[in-house]
Amino acid sequence: MGQTIAEKIFSENYNRKVEVGEEKLFSPDIITAYDYPGYIDKYEKQMEELNIHTVKNPEKFLLFIDHFYPAGTSKEQEIHQITRRFSKKYGFKLYEGAGIGHQVISEKGYIKPGQFVVHFDGHISTIGALGAIGMGIRNSMIEAFATEQVSLVVPSTVRINLEGKLLKGVTSRDVFHSIIKQIGPSGCRSSVIEYGGPGLKSLEMDERFTLCNLAMFLGGLSAVMETDEVTHEYLKTHNVKDYVDMYPDKDAEYLHEYTIKLDEVEPVIVIPPTPANTVPISEVLGLSIDHGYIGSCASGRIKDFQQALEILEGRHVAENFRLNAVPTTTQIQLQMSELGLTQKLIKAGAMVQVSSCDFCIGQMGALSDGERSVSTGTLNVTGRMGSSKAEIYTASPYTIAATAINGKITDPRTML
């Protein structure tokens, strides 16, 4: 029997063929985390408790300061200090101010097809766009820090075949939420999502990162994509060499297989208070909105801002509407400037911000009671972006741009 991409990755990692359901110790190629209270400070204490003062392969570890950035209080700065201290003690590479780690890790050339990477946060699945598996293992991260191995049951794979091309005004964000609508929020539960098919080739790398980033909301342990020319180009640009392409065997066995016709996907909105609530945009048209956010590890890349600007350029956001444009990384922020996107966003009335996770979690740009936001953030649960009496609607950059202009939910296709 052939293997899925995930089975190939775990077999390579274990140095022999492993089957779905086998419980083994795997050795992540990269162990990564970000500054967050209750995590980094806890790992530091746990390593002391375990009497571990050095690690065997410090080059496998990568830490990021991307939350509470820039620090707004001395208490927030304390968690940065702990992160710096922890990195220094064990010889871990630390990136600070480079942007959101889930994306910086690929930008800096750490990710190669075939790798297995762990983080406490499941959005590390973003790297699946490059043919690697990133898995959020939550509080068992201490197992990785202490032993450089993690215990795992080899997961099944759900195959999602993409066909056709996206229509104007529709994005990979709409695709992902439409998949939830079609197969349900547990449609890929405890499996790795494998994206492939002819439609994948029509998606740019930025759109692929978005699709992989959100895997957890389909119940996925991770997501991974077949590699192709688009992958090769990205890896070449980021100085990644000596890798092998990732694709499944023709007779690979899947838990489920689904086909998504990209040209049938329409703009959708995820209504509060759960990422499971996808509805067609037609159901909420005209709803008044106070705030918009284009950014996060899911959607704050060049393609996202180019899409938003197809609507924003030459127009201005509605009076009293606050639109935050937050590049996912500092490198993207630089590219935005070089491409003239920053200037156009500012002229349209958007507030272009420094790269940080904080807008997604209401640490900055927070919502107050009774407000409504349209957001490309990862999540729309109650209280995620400030007040528990505010509402978050997640949508595509096109939809947010159109909504920002009118101050009410607007189908972006009417403005393109």
């Binding site: 408790e49 509080n139 049951v153 999540l379």
Partner: protein, 169 residues
């Protein structure tokens, strides 16, 4: 050897994709004080839950229990009130990984929602992986529980597990 779970079913969340943060309330995720968390636990479902529940009881869940961005305070509160585990149709993987790492018994068992009623008495046998509804005479076979999950239950938490099983020469 893990001691069998033996108690009553204190609550049934039969809806799919249940967000565990709702047990103490999504706005209370930053609360660390366990007494405050106990006071908040389940108040949106049953104001008397805290008084009715006793050591050894469990919670029953539906499909994909723990969906969303699960945090730890809700299960801390449930444990502090004596809840010894959750048996669900299935768990969201992030929730499962997080709470099983805390040594909290989580068992997947198809048909449990349909079979269970509140305050049913039960025994769960870790060796046979069977859930026995004592008064109903119904026995359900659970899904296989991963070995590491069982070890974490035996050792109580990830640190003790690592010390005893993975870091001992």
């Amino acid at each position: 050897m893990i001691k069998n779970l033996n108690g009553r079913i204190a609550w049934i969340f039969d809806e799919p994709n249940f967000d565990i943060d709702l047990v103490v309330g999504v706005t209370n995720m930053k609360i660390q004080d366990i007494e405050k968390l106990k006071d908040l636990c389940m108040i949106n479902y049953d104001l008397d839950f805290k008084n009715q529940v006793r050591e050894g009881d469990i919670i029953i869940g539906g499909e994909n229990f723990g969906y969303g961005h699960p945090h730890y305070p809700s299960c801390r509160a449930l444990r502090a009130l004596g809840i010894k585990g959750i048996i669900a149709e299935s768990f969201s993987p992030g929730f499962y990984r997080g709470e099983s790492t805390n040594g909290f018994p989580l068992i997947e068992c198809k048909g449990v929602v349909e079979t269970a009623d509140c305050w049913d008495r039960f025994i769960y046998d870790w060796d046979t992986e069977e859930l026995n509804f004592i008064d109903k005479g119904i026995i359900l076979k659970s899904e296989r529980v991963p070995e590491k999950t069982k070890e974490l239950i035996v050792h109580g938490d990830i640190i003790t597990y690592l010390q005893k099983r993975r870091l001992t020469p």
